[in-house]
Structures are given as structure tokens and as C-alpha cells.
């Protein structure tokens, strides 16, 4: 996607709330016009004083008060509308993005680091919201006021206007010249500051080693040298920026000096009134504004737009298909792989090579093999995360591509490798809102998954919250809750990927016993690291480098004297 279309996308999303945006723009235009009117009123006020005309003064005051109230009201309206626009638009974006992410493909989630996605939703969104609420309108208002002011001044005395405006670019150029070295000094200082921070980071992470090896003097020396570099650069920066500051203040007076000198001369000549001169000064501020603030504001908007683009790109991530039919997991073969070869998108290596097997109803099957052999990939294909490039996967009565993913997953329960808890109560984590605590099934599942054993240690029992990403529980406890969640779903097929790896031997064997004693029609597929406790399974499928190398029960495979025996024995060796 090129830059232009992405940029267009950004503006398109802004137009989603056009009914707030357009009134805001109209109000701001009105506000800018009223600002000019204020300047005009100032001129007539001063003229009436100079001309000692009490009636005119009273009239001018009355008009000024009216204009002033108008501008206060429009100011309030501007801000109010801008808030409605930005806050509503951002809430809309939040929802759209969440919706998209919830349906994103496995591949998408792999490509994007989760921390990155979350940071876009927090930091980039914040920048973007700030820009929508303040910066763009400030920019628009500033430019509008400047244009109006220019028109007013020109129509009143073009000569004075031209003389004053001619001085502005000179000032602009001078300040650019003065400020250009600052950027370099800032970068240098920033770089040494990041060195200093790096040093702090290393001294924190390496705290133990640093003390154990008495490395403190070395680190202190290095820190000091970074610190000195930083000081040198920062001092240069201070000097230059103070120069710029003072210069800025002095230079800001120049246009006013011109107005007074040249304008005063014109007043003496009787060409303009004293009041108009003051109006000139007032309105000159509005023209000078873009010159002073514009670069800063534009820079801010630019970085916010970059943030907005990162945010909105989340709206175009690839999502899972939503079509397909409602199938049933019936028939002799629950799952069948026919000559399946598969590789992950963007990867050269085939993850599965010509894999064929079938699983009958009620079987208990374990996939074994060293890590990276393709076991988890088989599970991902069964769950419909990916479609194979060659061969086909058949679930029940249909090819996997024909199933609706929603329906497919309703037929299977999964325990994934990293046990994940939502930050809701343990009970809700297990039932997912489908059952209540009194349900006999729930009671049974609690004891089957060995949750009862640690329930009493929890502060609020079943009501204990999962905590941020399940942080309140140990790995083993989380695994047991996830197992319970899968059992609770009561599906004909259960997939367990290393579901007991974090458990101690005793708990593991209790859970495996539960699985073994599940009703006979439940089909169970397991991925396991250790073979020994799995003696009860009907069949092992042994994989190596993306291929199925052996298949059969324990005795058969031992007899075969192949990869299985090798795996089994290397794990057994420890017991000799």
C-alpha cells in the first residue's frame, strides 16, 4: 500500500463523523471573523476617545460587548464540537479495531508483536485523539484568522501592511538560521542521554553480576564519560537556545516598531487614525502567529498523522473467513488428513510434508516428536487456522474449507500451549458464561481438572479474578483452569497441546487419569513432551521434520525399533 492511499484512508475515517466535523469548521470560521471584528472595534473605541466623542464611545462599547460575547460563545462551541468529534471518532475506531483484531488470522497475529498492537491502541490513539481534538482545528483557525486579518489590513491601508509584512520573512529566515544548529545539538544530547539510559538499564539487569564480579568502578567510569559528553552537548544547546529565545523576543518587537515608526508618521500625516494603528498592532499578532507556531504545530501534526496511520493500518489486517456451512463431526473418521503438505505464509520450509492419517471416533491419540517436528502445526490445521497448500483435511462430513469456522470450533475444545486466563472470575473463565456454579457438570469438572486442590488457597475462591493475563496464578494452576475450560465445553473432540507440562508428576497423572476415563465417544488428541505417562493412549503418531514416521501403539512401536523407541529410551535413560 503506498503512502497516498493510506493517507486518504485517514481522511476517509475522519469523515465518518462528518456531522460533527463540518459544524466545527463553520464555527471556527465564524470565530476567526469575530476576532477581526474585535480589532475593528478597538480602533473605533480609541478613535472615539481621541476625538473626545462620548456618544460614539458608548456606541462602540456596546458594539464591542456584542462582538466579544459572540466570540466567547463561538470559542465555547468550537471546543465543545471538537470534543464531540474527536472523542466519538476515537471510540468508533477503538471498536472497529477490536472487532478486526478479534477475527484476525493466526498468521496476522504472528506477524505483529502483541506489545506493538497494544501500544498502537494506547500511544498512537492518544496522539491521534489529541490531534483531532486540538491541533488540526488550531491550525485551521490560525490560518483562517491570518487570512482575514490580512484582508482587513490591506483594505484599510495597503502601504503600511506591505511594509510590515515585508519584515516578517526576514525574521522567519533569521530564526531558522539561528535554530538550525539546535537540532544537531539536541540530537547529540539525546544520543548521549540514551547511552546514559542504556547504562542504567544494564546496571539494573546486571545488578547481581556487577556486584558478584566487583564491576562497579568500570561501570561508574563509563557512566561518567557518557555523562560528560551529555553535559558538553547540552551546554552548547543551552547557549544556542537562549540566544534564540532572546533573539525571538527582540525580533518580535521589530514589526511593532515599524508600525509605530512608520504608522506613527502616517498618523502625523493624517493618513490613518490612531485607532487604526492600534488595530494594526492587535491584528498583526494574528498574522505573526502562523510564522511562530506553524513549524511546531505542523511537526506535531505530522507525527500524530504517522501515529494515526499506524493505528488505522490495524483496520486492514487480514481476518478469518466468515462463510461456510454448519457441519457435524459424524462418520467413521472424525478427522482425516490426505497427503497434506503445508508451509506457513512467508516461509520457505515446508512445515508438513505429505502427511496422511485418520482419526476414528473415540480414539485417544498422542502426537510425539522433538520440538519443531510439526505437531502443533497439525493442530492449527485441524482448528482451521490455515489451509494446506497440497492435499486436504476432512473433518466429519465435509472438507475443512467448506466448514464455517464458527461451527467447526464449536465441535472442538482446545488447550493451547501457553495457558491463558481472561481477567474475569475463575468460574467465568471455565464456564465462559454457559453454566452456573450449581451445575453438577461444573462441580465435576472442578474435581476432574484438580482445581479443588488449590481452590481453598485463593482469596475469593471461584470468584478470584484471573488478574492481568492470568498473572495471579502459577503456570500449573493456569493449566488446570484451561483444562477445565476445555472439559466444560463438552465437545466430541478435545485437542491438548502440552496441556500438563507445568504440572508436577502427581497432578499430571491425576489429570491424565481423568482424560482416560472420559466417556468413550470423546475423541482426544494430545501433544506431549514426555511419553512415559501416556501408556494408555490407543495410538501414537510419531513425527519428525514435518513427516509422520511411525504410527501405532506402544508395544508395536517398541518392536519397530525406530524413532519412537529412540525417543522413549532417551527419556527413560534417566531412570537406569
Amino acid at each position: 500500500m503506498n503512502k497516498r492511499t493510506q493517507n486518504n484512508g485517514l481522511w476517509t475515517y475522519m469523515l465518518l463523523k462528518w456531522y460533527w466535523l463540518i459544524p466545527t469548521i463553520i464555527v471556527i470560521t465564524g470565530y476567526s471573523a469575530l476576532k477581526i471584528a474585535e480589532g475593528h472595534m478597538l480602533a473605533s473605541l480609541i478613535n472615539s476617545i481621541v476625538e473626545q466623542d462620548k456618544n460614539q464611545l458608548a456606541r462602540a462599547i456596546y458594539l464591542t460587548a456584542t462582538v466579544f460575547s459572540g466570540s466567547v460563545c463561538s470559542f465555547f462551541l468550537w471546543k465543545f464540537l471538537a470534543i464531540q468529534f474527536s472523542d466519538r471518532l476515537c471510540a468508533l475506531l477503538q471498536r472497529k479495531i477490536s472487532n478486526r483484531i478479534a477475527k484476525a488470522t493466526d498468521h496476522t497475529m504472528h506477524q505483529n508483536h502483541s506489545g506493538d498492537i497494544i501500544s498502537r491502541m494506547s500511544n498512537d490513539l492518544m496522539l491521534f485523539q489529541e490531534m483531532l481534538q486540538k491541533d488540526i482545528f488550531q491550525l485551521f483557525g490560525g490560518i483562517a484568522t491570518a487570512i482575514f486579518a490580512m484582508i482587513y489590513l490591506f483594505s484599510n491601508n495597503w502601504l503600511l501592511t506591505v511594509v510590515v509584512l515585508a519584515s516578517l520573512p526576514v525574521i522567519g529566515i533569521l530564526s531558522v538560521v539561528l535554530s538550525s544548529p539546535i537540532e544537531k545539538y539536541t540530537q547529540d544530547a539525546q544520543k548521549s542521554l540514551s547511552d546514559i539510559n542504556k547504562e542504567a538499564k544494564e546496571s539494573i539487569t546486571g545488578a547481581e553480576i556487577i556486584r558478584a564480579f566487583n564491576m562497579q568502578p568500570f561501570f561508574l567510569n563509563r557512566f561518567k564519560s557518557f555523562q560528560n559528553t551529555w553535559t558538553t552537548h547540552s551546554k552548547k544547546k543551552v547557549k544556542q537556545s537562549v540566544l534564540l529565545l532572546v533573539f525571538g523576543i527582540l525580533v518580535a518587537f521589530i514589526p511593532f516598531l515599524i508600525v509605530f515608526g512608520f504608522g506613527g508618521y502616517l498618523v502625523l500625516q493624517g493618513q490613518i487614525t490612531v485607532g487604526l494603528l492600534f488595530a494594526f498592532i492587535q491584528l498583526l499578532n494574528y498574522i505573526a502567529f502562523p510564522l511562530q507556531e506553524l513549524p511546531l504545530l505542523l511537526g506535531k501534526i505530522k507525527s500524530s498523522i504517522a501515529g494515526g496511520r499506524r493505528l488505522i493500518s490495524l483496520l486492514s489486517v487480514e481476518v478469518e473467513r466468515s462463510d461456510g456451512i454448519e457441519g457435524t463431526l459424524a462418520g467413521e473418521d472424525l478427522i482425516r488428513f490426505e497427503n497434506v503438505s503445508f508451509r506457513y505464509p512467508d516461509q520457505k520450509e515446508w512445515a508438513l510434508k505429505d502427511v496422511s492419517f485418520s482419526i476414528r471416533k473415540g480414539e485417544r491419540i498422542a502426537f510425539v516428536g522433538s520440538s519443531g517436528c510439526g505437531k502443533s502445526t497439525v493442530f492449527k490445521l485441524i482448528l482451521g487456522d490455515y489451509s494446506p497448500q497440497k492435499g486436504k483435511v476432512i473433518a466429519g462430513d465435509h472438507k475443512l474449507e467448506e466448514w464455517s469456522l464458527h461451527s467447526l470450533r464449536n465441535h472442538m475444545a482446545t488447550v493451547v500451549q501457553e495457558p491463558f486466563l481472561l481477567d474475569i472470575s475463575i468460574q467465568d473463565n471455565i464456564t465462559l458464561g454457559h453454566f452456573d456454579a450449581q451445575d453438577p457438570l461444573f462441580e465435576r469438572v472442578l474435581s476432574q481438572a484438580q482445581i479443588n486442590t488449590f481452590l481453598s488457597q485463593l482469596p475469593d475462591g471461584l470468584e478470584t479474578l484471573g488478574g492481568e493475563l492470568g498473572s495471579r496464578f502459577s503456570g500449573g494452576q493456569r493449566q488446570r483452569i484451561c483444562v477445565a475450560r476445555a472439559l466444560m465445553k463438552q465437545t466430541p473432540l478435545i485437542l491438548m497441546d502440552e496441556a500438563t507440562s507445568a504440572l508436577d508428576n502427581e497432578t499430571e497423572s491425576l489429570i491424565l487419569k481423568t482424560i482416560r476415563e472420559l466417556p468413550g465417544e470423546t475423541t482426544i488428541l494430545m501433544i506431549a513432551h514426555r511419553i512415559q505417562p501416556l501408556g494408555f493412549v490407543d495410538r501414537f503418531i510419531v513425527m519428525d521434520q514435518g513427516r509422520i514416521v511411525e504410527e501405532g501403539n506402544h508395544e508395536e512401536l517398541i518392536e519397530k525399533n525406530g524413532r519412537y523407541k529412540q525417543l522413549f529410551q532417551s527419556q527413560l535413560l534417566a531412570v537406569e
Binding site: 464591542t64 476515537c90 547504562e199
Partner: protein
């Protein structure tokens, strides 16, 4: 409030060496802000009268005056701003040094109370916030005092009735605003909370995305997110609307300008000489309104930044490790059996503020040159034991003797020189490879480094780099492979002349080639020194002279592999049979 003042006082101690420079800066900047405006106000009066009275001479003279004033004022401003910024720069440097020194020298027990991200954020953000207090907030305060208060006084001086009008108008708007500001603060907290719960929900969505797909939970979580984002939106709109009301009220305070012109205009019509005063008052009136609008900003800024100062000082006020540990009788419980080797007697340790000891009455003796292996379930105290031996944690009681030396008689530095520690994950830091050696031991000869690398099987890959030993490492040495990092860390242990090796064996295997090299290097190291190893491999425990089985902070079994395997109900035997130790591929 008392505590806040106390913290501020300790913080301002950093300013002490630069106090003259800083005060000159702050006062100079504040005063010049007022002086320039006040001067301009009177010049404007002169200019106006020159125009009204058509006096060309006065006009030219005034223009010159303005120019001169600008040059003089600019110069003063330049020096005072420079003094202000330079002195705060120096304070920033000093604070950072003090902070860094705590990072290096405070006891681990204290530092580890804070997550590392927290420490880092204090090091960068809170130092920054605290400096902004000096640089920004105090400057605004000075400007407020000189420019704001000065303008008010001058107006009163020119025409007290006008002063009364201006101050009461601005003041009443300020009072009107106070309850709004309080509510803004309250709603801001609500917004923060709503934002946090939204992000919590969203990160659950992102991190649990697979579960959400597999269990068809998209609609369910979507409903929650919808609700949460609605709440967040409403809170946001509420807060921002209040903010708008405040801004609008502030803008009304310029209403006083109208009143001033109206009353002053009538006065000037009656008395033309009043016009000069009027112009000056209008100009100075800005300062008076500024005084009231800035007041609340400064107040909230000070309280926010003081929170940063407080977090900063919490670290800076930490005590550093003493040079020697004060040994009391508890640490000399038993005069060592004055045997050779490492002798630990009745060692106890518990974390501060925790009742349960982590190490309970640990006693063991490892003769010089021999190897002791420590095994046991995770959390049994093996790693803690190492850390106590390294004096990263101070033992509560018990004695540590090496050869004839009671380690309590040594300085902390000498104590740690007895041991060399090889953790599971090698820690290298950024800089050159050579730096990583020099940090351990200054004035290290090139030969010694070469020799150590040769022994640790690290020479071959180091020599393959163009820069050889000057090859520069990224943070944590992340541009090397795990095995290469491990080997450099091992070589580093060779250059120290420490007689005792504390080795925490890695659980996960490296790539095959590195694995063999690292094992080879380790064998060299173990043979050379008295070794304590936290073992995860069967081969390691088998070759150890003595095995110690720890559980719950106690040594409950000890002996050789064969001895322990013969205990029918032994814990060690059970562990080996369960296959909890890694078998090397032979």
C-alpha cells in the same frame, strides 16, 4: 504536607552548589519579564500622546528609546536565562550521578523491591519531572511574582480605582473557576481508570486472541469492549467539556479590558492627559489577568512534579552497601573446623519483612578442588544459597569460612573476590569484548585475556571477527549467539583468580556445536577450582564429589550419586527416577 516539605528540602540540597547562579537566573528572568512589559506600557503611552498631539520629535525619540531598551534588556535576559539553564543542567547531572551510584551500590534486596521497568522509568521520567520543577515551574513562579504582581502594583500606582476593578474582576473569575478545576481533577482520574480498564480488556483480546477464536468468544469480548469504550468515551467527553468551560471562563476575564476602556475612555475624554495612563493600564492589565490564570496551573504542576520528586528521592535516599559487613556473634557461631576448602556453618537467611526463612541451618563442607552439586525442586533455595554466598543477600546468621579465613573479616570486595559466579544466562554488556574483561579486572594483560578465551573455547569465533577483541557488542550482547555469549562469560570467569566457582547450570541446551564447546570449557573450570554447582544434568551430578538435596531451604540428603540412589525412599532417587534431570545425548 510535612513530608512533602521534607522531600523538597532534601531535593533542593542538590541545588546548593549552584544556588547563586540559579537564583540570579530565576530572578533575572522573572524580573526582565516584568521590566520589558512595564517599560513598553509607558512607551506606548508616550507614543500615543505623540500621535494625538502630533509631536514628531517625541515619536522619533521614543522609537530610539525602545531600541536601546531592547538591547539592554535582551542582554540581561540572555545572561540570566543562561544562568538558569546551566545551573539546572548541572543539577540534572548530579542527580543522575547519585541515582546511578545507588543502582550500582545499593543492596540487591532493596533494589529488587522495584521491577526493573519501574527503576528505569524513575531514572528517565522522574529525574526529568524533577528537573522541570526547577527549570519550568519555579521559573513560571518567578514570572508570576514579578510580572503578575508587578503589573498589579503598577496599575494601582497609576490609578487605584482601575486596579481595584481589574483585580476584582479577574479574581472573581478565578474563584468561579476553582470548583470546576477540582471537578476536572476528579474526572481526569476517572478517565485514567477507564482508559486503564479499556487497555486491559484490549490486551486480553490481543494476547488471548487464539483462545477467543477457538472458543468463539469474539462476540462476547466485543460486547465488553463496546461497553468499555462507551464508558471511556463518556468520561472523556465529560472531562473535556469541563476543561472547555474553564477555558471559556478564562477568556471572559479579558472582559475587564472592556470595562477599563469604558471607564478610562470617559476619564480621558474629560482629561486628555489621562490617555497616556489608560494606554499603559491596558497594556499592564494582561499581567494582572495572567497572575490569576497561571495560579491554578502552577499549583497543579507543583503537586504533580512533587510526586516525581518523591519517587526520585526514594531511590536517591537508599543506603549503599557498606564496605565491610559488621560481623556479630551470630556470624561466628562456630569457629570453623579450620579445614581446608569452603566451610558453611548454620547459615540462615530470610528476606527482609518476611517471616519464613528461605535458607534454614545450612551446613556443608567442600574440600579444596572438589565439586559439590546442589539439586532439589524449584524454589527450594538453591539460587538463594548462591546469592547469599556472594553476599548479594546478607545472611541472617551463620558463618562462611574459606580456608582459614572467616569471610566476615574481609571487605565486601575481597569477599566477592573469593567467588566467581556463572549464572544460567550469561550476562554480557554493551561495549567491546575487551571491555567485558576489563570490567572484571583492571590492567589485564592482552595475553591473559587470550589465554582465558583459549580455555573457554572462545578464541576461534572471536578471531573470526574483523575487530577481534574490539568487536563491539549490542546491549546484553544480543548480536552474539547464546553459545558465544556463554563462552565469553566463562572466559571472564577464568581471568578472575577466584578460588571458588559458583555455577548455575543452564537448563536449556544450546546448539550442538556451542553445547560441546561450553561443556568442555566448564570441565576446565571445574577442574581448576573448588566448585559449587546447581545441577540440572545427570552427568554433572554423577561426577560430583558430593550431592546436596535441598527442599524448602534445608539440606535433607547428602552423599554421592551411588549412595543416594541406594536409599529406597530417598528424595534424590525419586527425582532421578522421575526423569527430572537432563540426560546428555551421548
Amino acid at each position: 504536607m510535612k513530608i512533602e516539605r521534607d522531600i523538597l528540602k532534601r531535593f533542593l540540597a542538590f541545588l546548593k552548589p549552584y544556588r547563586y547562579q540559579y537564583s540570579f537566573g530565576v530572578i533575572g528572568v522573572g524580573f526582565m519579564n516584568f521590566a520589558l512589559t512595564a517599560y513598553l506600557a509607558f512607551v506606548l503611552g508616550d507614543l500615543t500622546s505623540s500621535m494625538v498631539e502630533l509631536d514628531q520629535q517625541l515619536l522619533i525619540k521614543t522609537c530610539w528609546n525602545v531600541l536601546i531598551m531592547l538591547v539592554v534588556g535582551g542582554t540581561i535576559l540572555y545572561f540570566s536565562a543562561k544562568a538558569l539553564l546551566t545551573s539546572t543542567l548541572n543539577v540534572e547531572k548530579d542527580i543522575r550521578s547519585a541515582f546511578f551510584s545507588r543502582l550500582l551500590n545499593s543492596p540487591i534486596v532493596q533494589l529488587s523491591q522495584y521491577p526493573s521497568g519501574e527503576l528505569l522509568s524513575r531514572f528517565s521520567n522522574d529525574v526529568n519531572e524533577s528537573i522541570q520543577l526547577l527549570k519550568d515551574t519555579f521559573q513560571s513562579l518567578a514570572i508570576m511574582l514579578f510580572y503578575g504582581v508587578g503589573s498589579c502594583i503598577t496599575i494601582f500606582f497609576l490609578d487605584w480605582s482601575m486596579g481595584l476593578i481589574i483585580c476584582s474582576l479577574s479574581g472573581s473569575i478565578f474563584i468561579l473557576n476553582l470548583p470546576i478545576i477540582r471537578r476536572i481533577r476528579k474526572t481526569s482520574q476517572i478517565v485514567q481508570r477507564q482508559k486503564a480498564s479499556f487497555l486491559n480488556l484490549f490486551s486480553q483480546l490481543v494476547q488471548g486472541q487464539r483462545i477467543i477464536r477457538y472458543f468463539n468468544l469474539a462476540d462476547w469480548i466485543q460486547k465488553k469492549i463496546w461497553q468499555q469504550s462507551e464508558d471511556l468515551k463518556n468520561a472523556n467527553i465529560h472531562r473535556n467539556s469541563l476543561e472547555t468551560i474553564r477555558e471559556t471562563l478564562d477568556s471572559i476575564s479579558f472582559l475587564s479590558i472592556l470595562v477599563v476602556i469604558f471607564i478610562g475612555g470617559y476619564k480621558a475624554i474629560n482629561d486628555p492627559s489621562y490617555l497616556i495612563k489608560l494606554v499603559a493600564i491596558i497594556q499592564l492589565q494582561n499581567g494582572a489577568t495572567f497572575l490569576f490564570t497561571i495560579l491554578t496551573t502552577i499549583y497543579s504542576e507543583i503537586s504533580r512534579r512533587l510526586a516525581g520528586v518523591e519517587r526520585l528521592m526514594e531511590i536517591v535516599d537508599m543506603k549503599e552497601e557498606p564496605l565491610t559487613l559488621s560481623a556479630n556473634d551470630k556470624h561466628r557461631l562456630i569457629e570453623s573446623e579450620s579445614g581446608v576448602g569452603l566451610c558453611i556453618n548454620h547459615l540462615w537467611f530470610s528476606y527482609p519483612n518476611h517471616d519464613n526463612p528461605v535458607l534454614k541451618d545450612i551446613c556443608f563442607h567442600i574440600p579444596e578442588g572438589r565439586t559439590g552439586a546442589f539439586v532439589g525442586p524449584s524454589g527450594s533455595g538453591k539460587t538463594t544459597l548462591f546469592k547469599v554466598l556472594l553476599c548479594l543477600y546478607q545472611p541472617a546468621r551463620g558463618s562462611v569460612n574459606f580456608k582459614e579465613k572467616n569471610l566476615y573479616d574481609l571487605s565486601l570486595k575481597e569477599w566477592r573476590q573469593i567467588f566467581t559466579y556463572v549464572p544460567q544466562d550469561a550476562f554480557l554488556f554493551s561495549g567491546t569484548i575487551k571491555n567485558n574483561f576489563e570490567a572484571v579486572c583492571q590492567n589485564l594483560s592482552q595475553e591473559k585475556i587470550h589465554e582465558a578465551c583459549e580455555m573457554a573455547c572462545a578464541s576461534s569465533f572471536i578471531k573470526a571477527f574483523d575487530e577481534e577483541f574490539d568487536f563491539s557488542l549490542d546491549e546484553f550482547g544480543s548480536n552474539l549467539s547464546g553459545g558465544q555469549r556463554q563462552r565469553i562469560a566463562l572466559a571472564r570467569s577464568f581471568v578472575t583468580d577466584s578460588p571458588v566457582l559458583l555455577l548455575d547450570e543452564a537448563t536449556s541446551a544450546l546448539d550442538v556445536e556451542s553445547e560441546q564447546a561450553v561443556q568442555e570449557a566448564l570441565k576446565q573450570l571445574i577442574n581448576k577450582k573448588t566448585t559449587l554447582v546447581i545441577a540440572h544434568r545427570l552427568s554433572t551430578v554423577k561426577s560430583a564429589d558430593c550431592i546436596f538435596y535441598l527442599e524448602d531451604g534445608r539440606i535433607i540428603e547428602q552423599g554421592t550419586h551411588n549412595e543416594l540412589m541406594q536409599m529406597p525412599n530417598g528424595y534424590y532417587r525419586k527425582m532421578v527416577l522421575a526423569g527430572d534431570l537432563i540426560e546428555d545425548p551421548e
